[in-house]
Amino acid sequence: MLPLVLDKVAYAIRDHAIIDDVSFEITAGPRTVILGPNGAGKSVLMRLCHGLLQPTAGAIRWMGSRNGRGRQAMVFQRPVMLRRSARGNITYGLALAGVSPRERRLRAQDVLEAVGLAHVADKPARVLSGGEQQRLALARAWALGPEVLFLDEPTANLDPGATREVESLIGQIHAGGTKIIMTTHNLGQARRLGDEILFMHGGRLAERAPVATFFAQPASHEAAAFIKGEMPWQ
């Protein structure tokens, strides 16, 4: 399903452009981090790529056609858990994907163990801690075996310990062959987790570079200011 191509994509609400004239191509392999200050349009861009929003102009194409969506999953900043057990949340997603009941249970068990939540598998998901819920959200996405995993500020609400756990899991998922596309406004996290940076500013793609280059020699002065910590939001 990759490459993902955005061709002059725009998204406007009532004449106010949130995303304006963005074009890029994302290929399999490197972990892509979309970086930028708050209000730059990162979350909206993610939702456009994942298909939760439709662009008001331009086109989004997977593997050359608009309909080659393939298997994707998304983890949001705030995990949304159904009122059922942790295991049940995972099997729900698998059932939607058409997996057989027996296979569902096996996969759920595997993924619960991988994220370290096997001991709370039958507890109601909503009584778990914030960090545990976010790991469960990751597990739910991982169980689907997606080719592309979108993550929208996945650790913004977590403490450092939980953040470390989540970052480690993202690394494991990537190691398994899943393409990672993630947003963050946290510079340290971008450095740790990114292979390439797409820097967004004012709804436009301001810069794109491999992570080392981006932080050593930012090409745009918006990027430079952001890295220096002078522009947390716009």
Partner: protein, 234 residues
């Protein structure tokens, strides 16, 4: 004050004596109202869910109309259902008039708008929370509606209770379509109306207190269920 003390005494006497006529009347009241509430829920809850999840032109008008229908006067519903089920009416062949079946029909018509309008509100709020995650996992509108209904099931208990209260308390509709036939379609509310019109106020009040007791009991039970559930499921 005298009448009210006399009413208490009558009520206690009736209950202690397990008067068979009284138990028949109470049993019929419960049968009719519970069946009507179940049918109304089967119609109203999916309708509310559909309205919450699906955006279509004219949706706002349907929502307003549904909210207005919550205030349908029971006696008007009774009259309309009577005209429908009368031998001179379109559904006369069914021979439902003056049977408990007609009473169930009338009360279902009364309660369904309540279920639909109130559940729509609850589900719309829930949809705001769940929409992105459910769509990301691949749930279509119908599947999402069912998932929402199940997830907010404890809030739905309150809604079903509201419907039951409306059904158990009304007299206008069941009087007209049931005919208040002794031993066949006489329920608590119509008996109270009859005894009042015969001037036997203590008996009427006594029956009223029994009815109140039942409704109170049902509500208390439901509160216990909700509390237990929220402790367990979060």
């Amino acid at each position: 004050m005298n009448d009210i003390t006399a009413a208490w005494a009558t009520a206690l006497q009736l209950i202690a004596a397990f008067d068979p006529q009284l138990t028949d009347i109470v049993a019929l009241s419960m049968e009719v109202s519970v069946t009507a509430v179940v049918l109304a829920a089967l119609i109203g809850l999916p309708l509310g869910a559909a309205l919450a999840v699906v955006r279509f032109p004219g949706r706002k008008i349907v929502v307003v109309a549904l909210n207005a229908l919550m205030g349908l006067p029971p006696v008007v519903v009774g009259l309309l259902v009577y005209l429908l089920l009368s031998r001179a009416g379109p559904l006369g062949e069914l021979g439902l008039l003056f049977t408990p079946g007609a009473m169930v029909v009338a009360q279902t018509v009364l309660c369904a708008p309540i279920m639909a309008a109130l559940s729509r509100q609850v589900l719309e709020d829930a949809w705001r929370e769940y929409e992105e995650q459910l769509r990301s996992l691949g749930a279509g509108a119908a599947r999402a509606a069912l998932t929402l209904l199940w997830d907010v099931r404890f809030s739905l208990v309150t809604i079903v209770l509201a419907g039951f209260g409306r059904a158990a308390a009304e007299v206008g509709a069941v009087m007209i379509v049931g005919g208040n036939i002794d031993g066949v379609t006489r329920v608590m509310t119509t008996t109270i109306a009859l005894e009042t019109s015969k001037g036997d106020l203590p008996l009427a009040l006594g029956l009223g207190m029994i009815l109140l007791g039942i409704v109170l009991g049902v509500n208390a039970l439901a509160q216990l269920v909700r509390d237990a559930a929220s402790r367990r499921y979060g």
